[in-house]
């Protein structure tokens, strides 16, 4: 089997596992991790597709999309974590 196609399937598997974890887990930290793994799976699908391009260089457009996606994902994760910490402190009665 083609190497790039194999990794797109790995990406699909990652997305499916993460989907399961996202809904079966309750702790927000775990759910954020699940979302990040789902993101990695999607990025893998994109980069696998880019490598299927029959040239010496892969298609750079998905690469740029994934780089953008990684930065967006870390921004959202970072904000989610701050929200989580704020909520936890509120629960402890601090302000």
């Amino acid at each position: 089997m083609n190497m790039a196609l194999w990794f797109t399937l790995v990406g699909a598997a990652l997305a499916a596992i993460a989907l399961h974890a996202f809904f079966s887990r309750r702790h927000p930290l775990r759910r954020l991790i699940a979302l990040n793994i789902m993101g990695s799976g999607i990025f893998l699908v994109l980069i696998g597709l880019a490598r299927l391009y029959p040239g010496t260089l892969p298609d750079p457009v998905p690469h740029a999309m994934v780089l953008t996606g990684i930065v967006v994902a870390v921004s959202a994760t970072a904000f989610g974590l701050v929200l989580l910490r704020r909520l936890a402190r509120l629960g402890r009665g601090e302000t």
Partner: protein
């Protein structure tokens, strides 16, 4: 030889799936985070295997490194005393479990069918990008897409980055993580050694991005790592968000980028249409601004805003 690489690819893919499963099924939060970091490093290996060195760098630095640090810092904060968050994971009913498992299986089947059914080779934009590299402001294809052909995406992504800081600070300050390692002399020694290297390699990565893998994201993350080490070692102090200068520095990348976009628009060429000959210089200017902003943003997201009052405590 191809048999060996095939076996390695299969092994790499399978271990990635296995590691993801272990991460998500880990009984403790700490274990989940550590496994997630390992997962990120393995991902970096896969990116390298797929000829995506830019993403390998970004994944190792951002995906595994920075996200891992943020997760660990949050965990340290969450584990101080009781809070409202669920501690135990109650087992869901078997029916729900079954439905979820079927959903996951369904998604996998759906994607597999879709991916295997794609035309071979799939249509792509690579044929559009490569012939136009001469007219672009960067000869490295990925940088050319990011900062020229699809610079609009990147501009908005920088807006997302600044939004994350604004959003985080709107929630009020949170205490700077204060683990026992702060003040360790060994760490301070290491930081003193590493700091010049970090600045040097950040500069190198930006300059390299014009013609080879590298660029502002990777460089910014290196800067952020240096900054976080400074904070951890106790050599540096978190910056004070109440001072407008810090906020202006955080926003500087976005100011430069929108400035270039509106400048090119007002000069009559159309937004982000770099004038002939100026493309390389403008892209380098944008990248330098982005590097600084990205570095500062990640530090700000890690340390949170510190009020002047709190700093004195």
């Amino acid at each position: 030889m191809s048999g060996v690489t095939l076996a390695l690819d299969l092994l790499l893919g399978l271990s990635l799936v296995w590691l993801a499963w272990r991460t998500l099924a880990s009984p403790t939060l700490f274990g989940a985070i550590v496994l997630f970091i390992a997962f990120g490093l393995l991902m970096a290996l896969v990116w390298a295997r797929l000829d995506a060195p830019d993403i390998a760098l970004a994944e190792a630095a951002v995906g595994a490194g920075l996200t891992g640090v943020l997760l660990l810092a949050a965990l340290a904060d969450l584990q101080q005393g009781d809070n409202l968050l669920p501690v135990r994971e109650p087992l869901r009913g078997w029916l729900l479990q079954l439905i979820l498992a079927l959903c996951a299986l369904g998604l996998f089947t759906l994607l597999t069918l879709a991916l295997l059914g794609l035309p071979s080779p799939p249509p792509s934009l690579a044929g559009q990008v490569l012939p136009r590299l001469d007219g672009a402001g960067a000869s490295h294809p990925v940088t050319a897409v990011l900062l020229d052909f699809r610079a609009w995406d990147t501009l908005l992504e920088i807006a997302v980055l600044l939004l994350a800081v604004v959003a985080a600070w709107s929630l009020g300050s949170h205490p700077h993580p204060n683990p026992r390692i702060v003040g360790s002399e060994v760490l301070q020694g290491l930081v003193r050694v590493l700091l010049p290297f970090a600045v040097l390699s950040a500069g190198y990565l930006v300059w390299r991005g014009g013609f080879a893998p590298g660029g502002a994201f990777q460089a910014g993350t290196v800067l952020a790592a240096a900054g976080i080490l400074l904070l951890l070692s106790g050599l540096g102090r978190p910056f004070n968000g109440r001072h407008w200068l810090w906020r202006a520095l955080l926003a500087s990348g976005l100011f430069i980028f929108t400035g270039v976009a509106l400048g090119t628009l007002l000069l009559g060429g159309g937004a982000l249409d770099y004038p002939a000959g100026l493309g390389y210089g403008l892209i380098l200017a944008i990248e330098l601004g982005l590097t600084l902003t990205i570095g500062l943003t990640f530090i700000a997201l890690y340390a949170g805003e510190q009020d002047a009052a709190e700093e004195r405590e």
